[in-house]
């Protein structure tokens, strides 16, 4: 038996040693002993998260670490930990996710002194969340495919209904993606709160949809690869694909008005390091912190008016924004998505 098990034991032992070797390197925060580390949930893309963590540490001396989780995953994980959270703060992701976490009791209201600079529509009055970036909904179109089907880049929501776009539009499913829900809610807003009219619009659009993707930015990739002519996504995601090399893409905005998301930061309840987390939130609202996004190819618009607006970003003054009541949108969400599911999605395509 010894002959047989020794190599296995050895393998396991070596592996444990390797693992043990890796483990401390992640938690290097405690090692220098200067201050307790801040651990935050990070919803934006990986390299942005990395930069935020390292720049925060060099700006304040507080070590920081993160785990990348999407909005829904973050809420699910917070519900698993209960009263002993692993995280102190939550950076990024639509405000509605932060509100869902708040409803379950995971958020501690905190109004940062730096939040004064942020416009009222980009922060919660009770301090449950504060906006760090804004993204406007747009149409991400592939010019090659547009030529092929003989259509121009859509300039209005009605343009998407053109039969030329049959099976050539992609959007995410409102149930899985905040992006798509934003589109659904925008249509409700444009119809003065009439949910039936909004669902009628999507019922008509249904014939032109190739597939409802699960992730919000996937329609942009589909357009980039020429699978569809246009995808309904956030403008910053389309710009990101263009800069990643999908050069045949172009962004347009509906003239009637378009919805937007506010990427938020919030303090988590029962944080292990609440002071560090507050310092983190204060820092994310500064212009210097918000300027980091563009350096890693994230082109959402910063909420701090002093932050730099680069050429890759949308000038929010140039487009028609449909004001979004994030609380109302969140409250209507479950019912509206269920109606979309049963009234729009299962209908057979013509």
């Amino acid at each position: 038996m010894h002959r047989r098990t020794v190599p296995l034991t050895l393998t396991a032992a070596v592996a444990v040693a390797v693992l043990a070797g890796c483990a401390p390197s992640g938690g290097q925060g405690g090692a220098d002993g200067s201050s307790d580390p801040v651990t935050f949930i990070c919803t934006p893309q990986e390299d942005w998260c990395q930069l935020v963590a390292s720049e925060f540490t060099s700006a304040t001396g507080i070590p920081a670490d993160y785990v990348r989780l999407s909005g829904g995953e973050a809420v699910a994980r917070l519900s698993a930990t209960g009263d002993t959270p692993e995280f102190d703060a939550w950076f990024g992701g639509g405000a509605e996710g932060h509100l869902a976490a708040d409803e379950a009791g995971f958020i501690e209201p905190y109004t940062s002194p730096n939040a004064d600079q942020i416009a009222d529509e980009y922060k919660d009055a009770d301090g449950r969340w504060t906006g760090v970036y804004v993204g406007a909904l747009g149409f991400c179109s592939n010019t090659d495919v547009l030529d092929e089907i003989g259509a121009d880049a859509p300039e209005s929501w009605d343009d998407l209904l053109d039969p030329a776009f049959k099976s050539n539009v992609a959007m995410a499913h409102p149930g899985t993606s905040g992006t798509a829900y934003q589109a659904l809610w925008t249509e409700v807003d444009l119809n003065d709160g009439d949910q039936d009219a909004a669902l009628d619009y999507f019922g008509e659009l249904h014939s032109n949809i190739l597939q409802y993707s699960k992730s919000g930015s996937a329609p942009g990739q589909m357009a980039g690869r020429g699978e569809v002519a246009t995808g309904v996504i956030f403008a910053q995601d389309c710009q990101k694909f263009i800069n990643e090399g999908f050069t045949n893409l172009t962004t347009t905005f509906p003239e009637e008005g378009t919805g937007y998301e506010v990427g938020a930061v919030s303090l988590l309840a029962n944080a292990r390091n609440p002071e560090g987390a507050k310092a983190f939130i204060d820092w994310t609202l500064t212009a210097e912190a918000q300027d980091l996004a563009a350096t890693v190819g994230s082109y959402s618009v910063p909420t701090n008016p002093d932050a730099t607006i680069t050429d890759d970003m949308v000038d929010l003054d140039d487009i028609t924004l449909e004001p979004v009541d994030i609380d109302a949108a969140g409250a209507a969400r479950n019912e509206l998505v269920a109606r979309f599911d049963s009234e729009v999605a299962p209908a057979p395509k013509e």
Binding site: D47, S79, Y212, R225, T247, N248
Partner: protein, 588 residues
């Protein structure tokens, strides 16, 4: 097949039919009845381990599923036509992939073991490549090749193919999962007794007739086992329905949607519960069906070598189908490989090394080390545990064997997203039973080893079933008399398992280890809920790259992942065969 039959008879008296056992095997029930203490202790130990790996997290999930939100979803699944369609979609997908994947696996194994042709090593390697199918890689490559603007569908044939939906899912899932079936069949075919073929041939049967009436019936447990495994894997798979599903919604993607889109964990658990039911059904059916067929072929009596088939009636169709499928696999994986070197695969095909530089020197290198270390810990545990369960199920246990077998399989049947939540619910806080703390916190950033223990446990849970099934299939083929001989010479059960059984099922152990490692390296959905700042996992990095539209980086990651996994698999093979068993190969 007295052994399994008794088991079924013991577990479900209603289904019992009088065993028509061939003479000479009557002794086996008696041997089993006087189970020695070692077996009892071992059985208990395995049961406790499984309780922590699978039982406790799944129980936590069930309690979530029966919370008010979950009950509401369960009610809607029964009453709403939309949900009926989702359930039906899931079943149809599972059945088709189960059948197609099993057949492909059988054809590959049959060609490999029995048909004469050149290039067997290459074929073996080719059949192994898909087990390292990193999430999204194959689906993305298939879209690049066969999508509406695909390089082959549109570029060569000029058609706007529509692969979103059932057809695309069947293609991708069958190609990703068939290696499980291939490994099963290969092991079984290698240990088949050729004297049966020779006898049939001596009586004047053609090669085709021998294949259909002698070889295939002997492989029934392999067919049933592979089908079950593929069925369960395909209905629980998440990554591919997410990318390729189109309007074809299945339960796993619905469960994911409930968790990530509706912020509703209970609803997710409820949908997952619905996935468990068909899995349980198929499991029971195959168990009952297989148990009625005798398949013992390894008897310990000397046998000769099987000759390679040259008859055109078998050789031509088998090799044509296998060749065509191989070409498809090669094309898909070449796309992944080439994609890593292109600026934007499919759009801007300019060559670049940037992606590999990013992966090998950037964030990627830590992810590679961490993931490989965790997978290397999980694989041997999962491999040996799988064999132990197989041995207990087939040889030692009576009433409880069906339960043990099923609990072992659960880790695969629960969709990853939900298993991950079950783990998070169970292990992020210290485990307490009746006010006594049994375990410290195992998951999450505050736990020991940065929460690595929980990740290893998930890896084991996910990869256990394939080894277990392979072990059960091969043990069913081995006549218990061989082990009884060892026992009657005075060896205890444990010694018999180590010295006699384990070497006999060596190929099952190797395939168990191989899958355990590959599965661990490529597991994505449960890990999302367990990742911590201290550990970077490769698959979640790949997901991050796909999310940001940097397919080049994602493809480069996949290529690196495939290279790591394949080379470590070769190493594991070598280690097991040459070092641990020292060439003591009992199987012919």
């Amino acid at each position: 097949m007295t052994t399994t039959l008794d088991t079924v008879a013991g577990a479900q008296p209603a289904l019992a039919t009088p065993p028509v056992a061939p003479p000479g095997r009557r002794s086996s029930p008696r041997t089993r009845a006087r189970a020695d203490r070692g077996v009892v202790a071992l059985g208990l130990a395995v049961a406790v381990v499984l309780a922590f790996l699978v039982g406790y997290p799944v129980l936590n999930l069930l309690s979530a599923a029966f919370a008010p939100d979950g009950l509401e979803v369960l009610r809607r699944i029964v009453t709403e036509p939309t949900n009926h369609r989702i359930v039906l979609n899931t079943l149809v997908l599972g059945l088709i992939v189960g059948v197609v994947g099993t057949l492909i696996g059988f054809l590959f194994a049959f060609a490999q073991v029995r048909v004469a042709f050149r290039g067997k090593r290459a074929l073996h390697l080719l059949a192994m490549v898909p087990i390292v199918a990193p999430p999204f890689a194959v689906a993305t490559a298939v879209i690049t090749l066969f999508g509406r603007n695909g390089a082959i569908s549109n570029g060569i044939f000029g058609i706007k193919g529509d692969i979103y939906g059932l057809s695309g899912l069947v293609l991708v899932l069958s190609l990703s999962f068939f290696p499980v079936a291939y490994m099963n069949f290969r092991g079984m075919l290698q240990s088949l007794d050729p004297s049966l073929d020779e006898a049939a041939s001596g009586l004047g049967a053609t090669k085709l007739r021998i294949l259909l009436s002698v070889t295939v019936p002997m492989l029934v447990p392999g067919f049933a086992g592979s089908f079950l495994l593929l069925f369960v894997e395909s209905i629980a798979d998440l990554a591919n329905p997410l990318v390729l599903g189109g309007d074809y919604t299945v339960l796993s993607s619905r469960a994911y949607l409930a968790v990530t889109g509706d912020y509703n964990t209970s609803a997710g658990a409820a949908y997952s519960l619905t996935i468990l039911l068909p899995a349980l059904l198929v499991f029971l059916v195959q168990r009952y069906w297989v148990s009625k067929r005798s398949v013992v072929t390894v008897t310990g009596k000397p046998t000769g070598h099987s000759e390679q088939i040259r008859a055109a009636s078998i050789r031509v169709p088998v090799l044509v189908i296998v060749g065509a499928l191989s070409a498809l696999i090669v094309t898909i994986y070449l796309t992944v490989l080439a994609g890593g070197f292109m600026k934007v695969p499919g759009v801007n095909n300019e060559l670049t090394l940037d992606h590999f530089r990013f992966v090998l020197t950037g964030i990627g290198s830590k992810a590679m080390r961490d993931t490989a270390a965790l997978a290397l810990i999980a694989a041997p545990i999962a491999g040996v545990l799988g064999m132990l369960i197989a041995w207990l199920v087939v040889r030692k246990l009576r009433r409880t064997s069906a339960l043990l077998d099923f609990v072992g399989m659960l880790g695969l049947a629960v969709p990853g997203t939900v298993l991950g939540i079950g783990y998070a619910l169970s292990y992020i806080t210290p485990t307490v039973f009746f006010g006594v703390q049994v375990l410290p916190a195992l998951a999450g950033g505050t736990a020991a080893f940065s929460g690595g223990i929980a990740i290893v446990m998930v890896y084991i849970t996910r990869s256990l079933p394939s080894g277990q099934r392979a072990g059960i299939s091969s043990l069913n083929q081995i006549h218990p008399a061989i082990e009884e001989a060892s026992t009657s010479l005075g060896a205890a059960s444990g010694t018999t398992f180590r010295k006699v059984t384990l070497p006999l099922i060596q190929s099952a152990l190797v395939s168990g280890l191989t899958f355990a490692f590959a599965r661990s390296m490529t597991t994505l959905s449960p890990i999302v809920f367990l990742t911590t700042p201290g550990l970077k996992i490769m698959t979640s990095q790949i997901l991050a790259e796909v999310d940001s539209g940097r397919f080049g980086n994602a493809f480069a990651y996949c290529t690196v992942l495939i290279v790591i996994v394949l080379s470590l698999i070769l190493l594991i093979n070598l280690l097991v065969r040459k070092v641990i068993f020292r060439g003591r190969t009992h199987s012919r």
